[in-house]
Amino acid sequence: MLISTLALAIFLTACKKDENEVATPAIEQNEEELITSLEVHLYRLDGTGDTAVFAFRDIDGPGGADPQPIDTIHLANETGYGCFLKLWNESVNPAEDKTIEILNESDEHLFCFSPNSADLSIVRTDSDGIFEIGLQSAWTTGAASQGELAIVLKHQPGIKNGSCDPGETDIEVSFPVHIE
């Protein structure tokens, strides 16, 4: 009888429970930590003109509403530019600046720039102490042309070697580029 009483006691008390309330659902998130926007800030290295900002924005993250139309990057030919990138989570108010978090984990991240058809060369100018990061870069335009520029953020925890091959893609945006 002792055994059966003990078994019954275990049976009745050993249950694990769901502490959530079904009628108060969690805020739905597409990702645990969302990056909705990539801004490309460009300024002329000769000090003339203002800083221009070109962006990709998908405010509610993947799915849902379509992203805003991607800005076309307009550049002057035969000109040098300085560039810095900004990342945002604009699904919350106020918007969160995610750039600093990339910088804090700069030894795991690398921005890769791949111009296609546009006469453009890009050199990363910042470093995590060993390898480049790509949040800052120097751009040099050539002859007038049109094409695309793919900006890819690779996540390379423990495997960063300075190349764009290893790791997973955190961000991949192709901007139209007009060199005039």
Binding site: S4, C15, T24, P25, L38, H155, E168
Partner: protein
């Protein structure tokens, strides 16, 4: 044929006879002083005789004109006893071929026969049944599939409790420990409808061992070691029936299994280690007209997900596929990110009150809790968030089930069951959106009839289910409730006919409805493993399925032929289809799949030929194929299993009166899946594969126990191959050669 010879008055005893596993065939006849007779059809593994008179009795199993097993029993007035007939001698000694091969029970897997597979997931263990295959999403994640039906179309029961974790979609296996069961049955026709009105693909039922009255203690120790991943499994099963408390039976079983990184012929797979544990306890108490059965079990596993399968976007996925480079790794038992942790808990009560010798009322209640945590490869960029180590996906599913039924044996040939039941389900989530919060409330009523006479048995079940579903979602800061209701009438008819002693025909006709699952309606997000954006469809209607399933067996001397065929038509078959326009995200472009509906035709065939040689060696060849067509556009849905051809040769090596050792050679040929519609997959189906296995199995009988031991090798020649129904085929080959050693030690202590 089973005979019980009894005498004397006050004939209110009940004798439940557990029959030797796999043996069916001859009708059973009960002879008593009242010349009471009953017959058995359908391949049940137990049979109950009511209104037995007190006294000494003998139960004997007849086969091929001779007694192959017998058991003495003593029954007192109003006793209810359970006895197990010992296995026929020919499990240890060559069968006298003059008696021929018996008709086999073809819809059940027995743990006893399954000892070599005990370290495998449930779905792999079930693959030996006709029509069964598995859908795999990793080395340790496998769903059982019956002629291509899986998930919510193939319902799993743990004894009387319906398992519900499959609501969460494709990428996880059933949350259950296969070692819980002594028998796993595939249920069709009327019996399947009685269990689940929405099981359009069938029902699988896992049943615990029956308590045997003559045993005080039964202890089973099972151990296994597999070289691939250095996997260890230790399991123990203890059954006890205290002599001082008549009618009480207790059971406690547990298992622990763990492995490190698994290997393919080309290298080790990073982060594929796993751990798994399970405990089950049960208590059964019978006194007078009452029987009470309690069960409680927990199951937990942590499974590493192959690092190379977790990709950022389509470019990453294509790089992985085309570069075909495995992430380098060395052997470790450490489980890193990504991984999934699963916890399952199930409790159930079964109370029976016998109103009369021929009628009883049964009350079943159960609770189930499932928790699933998925940890992504990435940790959050924010350090404080990362320090919390929260899963990216955290799901909770709680179920409460109850059923009341009235079982009546009206005459020797007619039995009915009337039942009503309720089922309440609650799902919540934290973290990334995958499946919304929801409640589902089911009610059902069913009427079932079994009739059997001479060479015919008919079962009929009509059932109606009502589902009330409420989904809770956040929309612009407020909670929105989306309610849907489904009415699901269903009917099943089964006919079993034994035209001769050597033939059996079974037909199962069913019509049933399946409402769409929550993930089919509301999933909306990126699938990292496939780099696909998955979209549900809120406008789905329930599937309406009509099925004809037939089985035929014939034996002739040392030959046995069996065939299982299935034809099914489904109105509104729910499937996932690729969309033409990719979705643009900040992570790049992703292909999109959306859940759609179409009418569908499905057909399946399994044939098998067994031949018993004179020296007790045997050869068995079988074939299995599935054909599916979406009739709206003539295409084939993805993940339809390829055709398979299997050959098993068994040869006795050493046989004495107490020791039996045999060798078994197993060859499986899986064809290429040619029937794949354009643009339904990110990679063409793999080539055909021929894989061999071998094992040596021994049995040593000691008193009334049989010790089992053996070793074997899967993928004996270390063949590199991939299977179409394994989603990991995008990234790596199937597992390499795996050598296994196993041991089963039973310790039985009988009443004096």
């Amino acid at each position: 044929m089973v005979n019980v010879f009894a005498a004397a008055a006050q004939c209110a005893g009940v004798v439940r006879v557990l029959l030797p596993e796999t043996i069916i065939g001859d009708s059973l006849t009960l002879h008593s002083t009242q010349t009471h007779m009953q017959q058995r059809f359908g391949g049940e593994s137990s049979f109950t005789f009511y209104a037995i008179c007190p006294g000494e009795s003998v139960i004997a199993l007849w086969h091929g004109g001779a007694i192959v097993s017998r058991q003495n029993i003593a029954i007192h007035a109003n006793d209810t006893i359970t006895v197990a007939l010992p296995l026929p001698n020919y499990t240890l000694q060559p069968i006298d071929i003059r008696t021929g091969l018996p008709i086999l029970k073809r819809n059940a897997v027995y743990v006893r026969e399954n000892i070599a597979l005990l370290a495998q997931p449930l779905a792999i263990q079930l693959e030996r049944l006709p029509g069964m295959s598995s859908l795999q999403t990793g080395s340790r994640i496998a769903k059982p599939a019956y002629f291509g039906f899986s998930g919510q179309r193939l319902i799993l029961f743990k004894n009387n409790l319906r398992l519900e974790g499959q609501q969460w979609g494709m990428d996880h296996g059933p949350e259950i420990n296969p070692l819980y069961a002594s028998r796993m049955e595939l249920v069709h026709g009327a019996d399947a409808i009685a269990l689940a009105g929405d099981g359009v693909g069938g029902v699988i039922r896992l049943l615990p061992p029956d308590a045997i009255d003559s045993l005080i203690w039964a202890i089973h120790v099972r151990q296994s070691y597999r070289t691939n991943g250095h996997q260890f499994l230790n399991a123990i099963d203890i059954q006890h029936q205290p002599q001082r408390i008549k009618g009480l039976a207790l059971r406690l079983s547990g298992s622990d299994s763990r492995a490190g990184n698994l290997g393919t012929p080309t290298g080790l797979l990073a982060n594929t280690a796993f751990t798994e544990f399970a405990w089950d306890g049960g208590m059964r108490f019978e006194r007078g007209r009452w029987m009470l059965h309690l069960e409680h079990g927990i199951y937990g596993t942590t499974i590493g997900i192959f690092t190379g399968s977790h990709s950022g976007n389509l470019t990453d996925l294509q790089n992985r596929i085309h570069n075909n480079v495995l992430p380098l790794t060395s052997f470790t038992r450490r489980i890193g990110r990504p991984n999934q942790t699963i916890y399952h808990e199930a409790s159930q009560v079964n109370a029976t009150y016998r109103v009369s010798p021929r009628s009883f009322i049964q009350w079943i209640a159960g609770r189930q809790y499932d928790e699933r945590k998925e940890y992504d490869a990435h940790i959050p960029l924010n350090d404080s968030l990362a320090a919390l180590n929260k899963p990216a996906l955290h799901l909770h599913l709680t179920d409460y089930q109850g059923q009341l039924s009235w079982n009546t044996q009206w005459t020797d040939v007619l039995k009915t069951v009337l039942s009503i039941g309720v089922h309440h389900q609650i799902n919540t989530f934290n973290g990334r959106f995958y499946v919304p919060n929801y409640t589902r409330h089911y009610r059902h009523g069913a009427w079932q009839m079994h009739w059997r006479k001479n060479k015919h048995a008919i079962a009929l079940c009509t059932r109606i289910d009502h589902l009330n579903q409420v989904v809770y979602r956040n929309a612009n800061g407020s909670v929105v409730q989306l309610q849907k209701q489904y009415l699901q009438p269903s009917i099943g008819l089964s006919w079993t006919h034994d035209p001769t002693k050597n033939q059996r025909i079974q037909l199962h006709l069913t019509s049933s409805n399946r409402p769409p699952t929550i993930n089919e309606m509301y999933s909306n997000g990126l699938h990292h493993g496939l780099a696909v954006y998955e979209l549900g469809n809120e406008n789905l209607q329930q599937e309406f399925a009509h099925r004809l399933l037939s089985e035929y067996q014939i034996t002739h001397g040392s030959l046995r032929f069996s065939a299982t065929g299935m034809l099914q038509y489904i109105q509104g078959y729910i499937y996932s289809a690729p969309q033409n326009t990719p979705i643009l995200t900040i992570r790049g472009a992703f292909p999109v799949t959306k859940v759609n509906q179409s009418n569908a035709r499905l057909a399946g065939l399994h044939t098998q030929l067994d031949y018993l040689l004179r020296n007790s060696a045997s050869i068995s060849v079988s074939h299995q194929s599935v054909r599916t067509v979406l009739t709206d556009d003539g295409s084939t849905p993805a993940f339809t299993p390829s055709d398979q051809y299997r050959m098993i040769i068994r040869y006795p090596i050493f046989t004495t009166s107490s020791i039996h050792v045999f060798m078994e050679w197993n060859t499986l040929y899986t064809t290429k899946q040619w029937r794949v519609s354009q643009a339904t997959d990110i990679l063409p189906p793999p080539q055909a594969a021929l894989v061999h296995g071998v094992r040596i199995h021994g049995e040593r009988r000691h008193r009334q126990s049989t010790i089992e031991f053996g070793c074997g090798a899967e993928n004996l020649f270390n063949t590199s191959y991939r299977l179409y129904t394994d989603r990991m085929r995008y990234y790596h080959d199937a597992l390499s050669r795996n050598i296994q050693f196993y041991l089963h030690i039973p310790l039985n202590f009988y009443k004096k």
